[in-house]
């Protein structure tokens, strides 16, 4: 069998071989296009800021200088933001998982009562919503503005993610498995807890990644609902460092802006690295679960 396959490969036409190398070349080009900006931030964050601004840093850092990072870690705002974001992400993702996994499982069961109506109840919200203003009023009426919980509770459930869990269970759990448990006298709670959950690791891992990254990265709700600086998540601190300053200096050019840029840019490159580090570390660990086909959510 192996020999046969090898033979087929060697039988491959010249044209196909050329095509194959062409694809590899093109994909490598894409990969460089994606990696280079990321790499540039790393080298720019440790290089001499003058060299970066003069366009002298391209492939390697000209020096290894951690003074930018020293300034970043000396900034109490960064520490507060970091601490808050870790807290928002941990508490929030826990809530997400508790809400999403059992619900996705229940939706995947054909014997769920009123299944069709419940599905529509959720589907409608994917395509239509009240919009920003009524949402703001709701939060305001719930008395959650400028509180810790405003960044936890309203984002408790993503219907997209729940449908992904449903699709996962539909294609990965056989009816026999569930019925075997129930013939043994297990209740549905018990079945879910001791039969389903132990074989749900891949989908739980992916859900944790999706929700956690979403929470780590979100800024908009905090911008709208959080007023107190001690509640700022990291992304708001980042926004103030990376973007608001730039906007403010939008009209100024020349020496003035150059001097400010020189001081600020090294910090900006560094702060991007510092804030993205946890995600960069977690992502490869969960990546291997992606290839399973459950990203294809099913509406039916």
């Amino acid at each position: 069998m192996v020999k046969q396959i090898k033979k087929r490969h060697s039988m491959e036409s010249k044209g196909d071989q050329l095509f194959h190398y062409g694809v590899i070349a093109l994909m490598t080009l894409f990969a460089i296009l994606i990696l280079y900006p990321l790499w540039f931030m790393v080298i720019a964050s440790v290089s001499n800021p003058d060299a970066v601004l003069n366009g002298e840093v391209w492939l390697w850092p000209d020096t290894i200088d951690f003074s930018g990072y020293a300034k970043i870690f000396a900034d109490p705002q960064i520490w507060t933001g970091y601490k808050n974001t870790i807290l928002y992400t941990l508490v929030g993702t826990t809530l997400n998982i508790i809400l999403t996994i059992p619900a996705g499982y229940a939706l995947s069961r054909p014997n769920l009562p009123y299944r069709k109506y419940i599905m529509w109840f959720f589907i409608i919200t994917m395509f239509f919503g009240g919009g920003l203003i009524p949402f703001y009023f709701l939060i305001s009426n719930l008395g959650m503005i400028d509180s810790f919980w405003v960044l936890i509770i309203p984002q408790g459930l993503s219907v997209w993610n729940m449908f992904m869990v449903k699709a996962y269970y539909e294609s990965n759990i056989s009816i026999e498995l569930i019925e075997a448990a129930q013939v043994d006298g297990a209740s549905q709670f018990r079945t879910f807890w001791s039969v389903i959950l132990p074989i749900s690791k891949p989908i739980i891992a992916v859900m944790i990644l999706f929700y956690a990254v979403g929470r780590w990265n979100s800024y908009f709700d905090a911008m709208v609902f959080i007023r107190s600086e001690e509640l700022y998540p990291l992304q708001i601190v980042l926004r103030n460092i990376l973007i608001v300053n730039d906007n403010a200096s939008g009209g100024i050019t020349g020496e003035d802006i150059y001097e400010r840029l020189r001081l600020a840019n090294q910090i900006k490159y560094g702060v991007i690295i510092v804030s993205s580090l946890p995600i960069i570390l977690i992502y490869p660990l969960v990546q291997r679960f992606f290839k399973e086909g459950f990203l294809v959510g099913s509406f039916k």
Binding site: H9, G15, F19, I24, M27, F30, I34, P37, L38, L53, G55, L99, P102, A103, A106, L107, R109, N111, L112, P113, F121, F122, T125, F127, F128, G129, G130, G131, L132, I133, P134, F137, L138, P154, G156, L157, I175, E176, E179, Q182, Q188, F189, W216, N217, Y219, V224, R239, L242, I243, G250, T253, Y258, L261, N265, I272, S275, S276, E292, G293, V296
Partner: protein, 313 residues
């Protein structure tokens, strides 16, 4: 595949218990999700009523006077209307023209690689930007495309003059769309790769023996295999043609690029939640936008149903 599932269902149907009494525990597992959706998705839908009111915070939704469709007509007649519609549509449509085929091409090409290891490495790299936050992404844009950014260094090296990318409104769309594709192309290709993984290898073997080249096999085997997925994504994209998120656009706006960067959702945010707020008017604009999206989605789904078997419902 579905056939065997159906058979399974038939065979075991007698064991599966139906009815509310027997399945209340399943409903209980769902209750949290239902409650959260009811509160955070359906109550705001009720709140839409303020779009038809001259909203007065002191009177609330229950007490504010109704003014019919006045808020809507005010928007249609405002000088902002045309500009907002064009900006929203253009940034979305141009993004779609480039962003829709790109992941399909990437998936089809990646799928031709024999080495699963190589495929895995490429995928890991292509997916990575998806996990970067919008704040960081726009921060990177400001750094790279700033007055003294690396792009301007490149422009200078080739004998050009510095370009103020963020001060000129003509650069907003290319930057928005380009960075969007940089970030999402790999991620969007996953769904197609999943569909391609289901293609029977025997089809390829048979075609090979008949002398079909790799390129021909992409066109005649791989592409038809992912066509249903393509149709679904196409329907969803058409349904969101006028829903450009405010998160990234708000961050990319500078005082001087508003001519192209002000879109419906950012405008709603500004007049509804900042400055001299007019929540009723803002909610009306938001509702108008949402309704267009629903209508587009229904039309797209209806046409897909008529001309093929691939539709959402």
């Amino acid at each position: 595949m579905t056939d065997s599932v159906n058979k399974q269902k038939k065979q075991t149907k007698s064991y599966t218990q139906y009815g509310v009494k027997r399945n209340w525990q399943l409903l209980a597992m769902l209750s949290g999700a239902v409650v959260f959706t009811a509160i955070f998705a359906y109550i705001p839908m009720y709140g839409i009523l303020i779009a038809f009111q001259e909203y007065n915070p002191a009177l609330g939704i229950g007490g504010s006077p109704y003014i019919g469709l006045d808020n809507f007509f005010r928007f249609f007649e405002s000088y902002q209307f045309q500009n907002l519609m064009v900006n929203t549509f253009l940034v979305s449509f141009l993004g779609f023209i480039i962003g829709f085929p790109l992941p399909i091409i990437v998936a089809l090409l990646l799928n031709t690689l024999r080495s699963t290891k190589l495929k895995g490495i490429f995928q890991t790299i292509f997916n990575a930007p998806h996990f970067i936050s919008v704040v960081v992404l726009v921060g990177m844009l400001f750094l790279f495309f700033g007055e003294y950014g690396i792009i301007n260094s490149l422009v200078l090296a080739f004998g050009g003059e510095r370009i103020s990318f963020f001060l000129e409104s003509s650069w907003f769309r290319p930057l928005f769309i380009g960075s969007g594709n940089w970030q999402e192309t790999g991620w969007s290709s996953i769904i197609y790769l999943a569909a391609l993984a289901g293609v029977d290898p025997q089809l390829h073997e048979a075609a090979k023996i008949d002398g079909a080249s790799r390129f021909k096999r992409i066109i005649h085997i791989d592409f038809p295999a992912i066509f249903p997925t393509i149709s679904i994504i196409l329907i969803l994209s058409i349904g969101s043609l006028l829903s450009v998120g405010y998160e990234k656009v708000l961050l990319m706006q500078t005082g001087t690029n508003l001519q192209t960067s002000e879109i419906i959702s950012t405008y709603v945010y500004k007049i509804g939640l900042t400055g001299f707020s007019e929540p009723g008017y803002a909610a009306a604009i938001g509702l108008f936008n949402a309704l267009i999206n629903v209508v587009l989605l229904i039309i797209a789904n209806y046409s897909a149903k008529r001309f093929s078997e691939n539709s959402l419902w």
